[in-house]
C-alpha cells in the first residue's frame, strides 16, 4: 500500500517515528533501529531541502537514534534471559513511543466525539429574562485571563521603569495582607506573637519585613508600654469605617 506523505503533518519526532513504524509494518517491541534511523534521517534531509522549519526536537531524536544504534552494535555480554543485567538500548524509546501513541489515540477519540459548535449546537440566543445580579453573586473568572491582562498592559508600556515583579515582593504583600487582616479583626496584636508562630526562617523574615513596610507606610503603629517591653501593633490608617466598609469580611 502506498502512503502519501505530507512532510509538515508530523506533530514531532515521536509522531514521525510512529509513522515509520507503521509504514514498515514493524513490531514496535522489536524495532530494527538501523533501518528506522536511516529512514528518519532521510525524512529530515527532505524536510531540510524543502526549507521546512525543523524543530530542535527532531535533531535531538536523530542523535538519540544514532546513540541507540551504536549501543546495539556493541558486543553484549552473554546474558541469557536475564533482562535486568542490561536493558535493551531501545527500551526507553519504546516506552516513550507507546505512551505517545496512547495519547494520540486519546486525541483521536476526543476529536470523534460530537463536538459543540461542530456537530451539536446550543441555543442561539438566550430568552430574555430578569437578569438582575443578586447580592451574593458567583464570580466566574480565570487565572489565565488575569495574567494575560497583566501581560497585555506591560506589552503596551515602553517605560524605563521595570514592571516585572518578583515572588519576593508578592510574598511580602501576602504577609502584609495577612497582618492587616489580623489587625482589622482583633484591633491589635503583639510583635512577638506574629513572629513566634512562624515555623520557617523565610516566613519570619518576610513577616518582619512586612511589619517594617506597614509601619513605614503608616498603616500600622508600633507601641511599647515600657522600655524593652512587649511591642504591640495597632491599625493606624484612615477613619475606621472607611477601612472596614470596603475591606474583607466587614
Amino acid at each position: 500500500m502506498a502512503y502519501e506523505i505530507k512532510l509538515d503533518v508530523f506533530e514531532g519526532p515521536l509522531d514521525l517515528l510512529l509513522y515509520l513504524i507503521r509504514k514498515n509494518e514493524i513490531d514496535i517491541y522489536d524495532i530494527p533501529i538501523s533501518l528506522v534511523a536511516q529512514q528518519y534521517m532521510e525524512y529530515l534531509n527532505t524536510m531540510r531541502s524543502l526549507n521546512l522549519d525543523l524543530a530542535g526536537e527532531y535533531l535531538v531524536m536523530a542523535a538519540t537514534l544514532a546513540h541507540i544504534k551504536s549501543r546495539m552494535l556493541l558486543p553484549t555480554v552473554d546474558t541469557v534471559g536475564e533482562e535486568d543485567e542490561e536493558e535493551d538500548p531501545r527500551a526507553e524509546l519504546v516506552r516513550q513511543l507507546l505512551e505517545y501513541q496512547r495519547y494520540k489515540e486519546a486525541a483521536g477519540f476526543l476529536a470523534a466525539r460530537p463536538l459543540l459548535e461542530r456537530d451539536v449546537f446550543n441555543l442561539g440566543v438566550l430568552p430574555e429574562g430578569t437578569s438582575t445580579p443578586a447580592d451574593d453573586f458567583l464570580l466566574e473568572v480565570d487565572l489565565f485571563e488575569l495574567v494575560e491582562a497583566f501581560r497585555r498592559i506591560l506589552s503596551q508600556i515602553h517605560d524605563d521603569e521595570p514592571l516585572e515583579f518578583s515572588t519576593e515582593k508578592l510574598s511580602l504583600a501576602d504577609r502584609m495582607n495577612e497582618i492587616m487582616e489580623t489587625l482589622s479583626q482583633e484591633g491589635n496584636t503583639s510583635f512577638s506573637e506574629l513572629l513566634i508562630i512562624r515555623s520557617s526562617k523565610r516566613l519570619v523574615v518576610y513577616t518582619f519585613l512586612a511589619i517594617l513596610e506597614l509601619v513605614k507606610l503608616r498603616m500600622v503603629t508600633a507601641r511599647q508600654a515600657v522600655p524593652f517591653g512587649e511591642i504591640r501593633l495597632f491599625l493606624s490608617v484612615g477613619k475606621r469605617d472607611e477601612i472596614t466598609g470596603t475591606s474583607e469580611g466587614a
Binding site: F121, G129, L138, L170, M180
Partner: protein
C-alpha cells in the same frame, strides 16, 4: 417526525436571530416557501398542543423558541444566580493591583493610561480589592491590595502562587499550529 421538520426545528433553535421562512428557503432551495411555512406551522402547533415549558413563536418576522410565560418566576430565580465575569478593564486593573500591591490609584492610572476609578470601585464592591491604608506622602493617597476572596476566586494559596510573566512566556514558544487553526 418528518425529517425536514426536525431540521427546521434545530435551525430555529440554533439561530442567533428569529429565523425567517425566507432564510429557511435559502437553506432548502428545493422546497417552496409555502411548504416551508407549512412545516413551521406544524412545529408551532405541536408545541402548542403539548403545553410544555417551551414554545415556538413568531417574533420580528421570524420564528424562535421561547419559554412559557407562566414559568417566568422560576426562570427569574435561575437568572439571579448567574455567574458574573469581569470586564477587560476590571481584569486589567485587578491584574495591576494583584501584581504590584500595595499600590496607589495614581500608579494604576499611569500603567493603564486611563482613569481606573470606575474599575477600582467595581472591584471594591466585588470584594476582590480592598483599601489597605494610606501612603504617607502629600495627599495621603489610598493604598490598594487584594483580598482573601481574590485568592479564593482564583484558587490561589497565596499571592506568590500567581503565575510569573516568564512562565507565561513559556506558553508562547514555537508551535505555530495552535494559533493557525486547522481542522481536526
Amino acid at each position: 417526525m418528518e425529517d425536514t421538520i426536525a431540521i427546521i426545528e434545530a435551525l430555529i433553535f440554533a439561530s442567533e436571530t428569529p429565523l425567517t421562512v425566507a432564510k429557511i428557503a435559502e437553506i432548502f432551495p428545493e422546497l417552496k416557501t409555502d411548504q416551508i411555512a407549512g412545516f413551521v406551522e406544524e412545529l408551532v402547533r405541536e408545541y402548542d398542543r403539548r403545553q410544555g415549558g417551551i414554545f415556538v413563536r413568531e417574533v420580528a418576522g421570524g420564528f424562535r423558541f421561547q419559554t412559557a410565560s407562566r414559568t417566568a418566576p422560576w426562570i427569574g430565580k435561575l437568572r439571579a444566580a448567574k455567574p458574573l465575569s469581569l470586564s477587560p478593564s476590571a481584569m486589567e486593573t485587578l491584574a495591576i493591583v494583584a501584581y504590584r500591591q500595595p499600590v496607589v490609584k495614581a500608579d494604576i492610572d499611569r500603567i493603564r493610561g486611563v482613569d481606573a476609578g470606575g474599575a477600582l470601585k467595581g472591584l471594591l464592591e466585588k470584594k476582590l480589592v480592598r483599601i489597605v491604608g494610606r501612603k504617607d506622602v502629600p495627599g495621603k493617597p489610598i493604598i490598594y491590595g487584594t483580598t482573601r476572596k481574590f485568592l479564593e476566586v482564583f484558587n490561589l494559596k497565596s499571592l506568590a502562587d500567581l503565575p510569573t510573566l516568564s512562565e507565561m512566556k513559556d506558553l508562547q514558544m514555537t508551535d505555530l499550529d495552535a494559533s493557525s487553526e486547522t481542522s481536526v
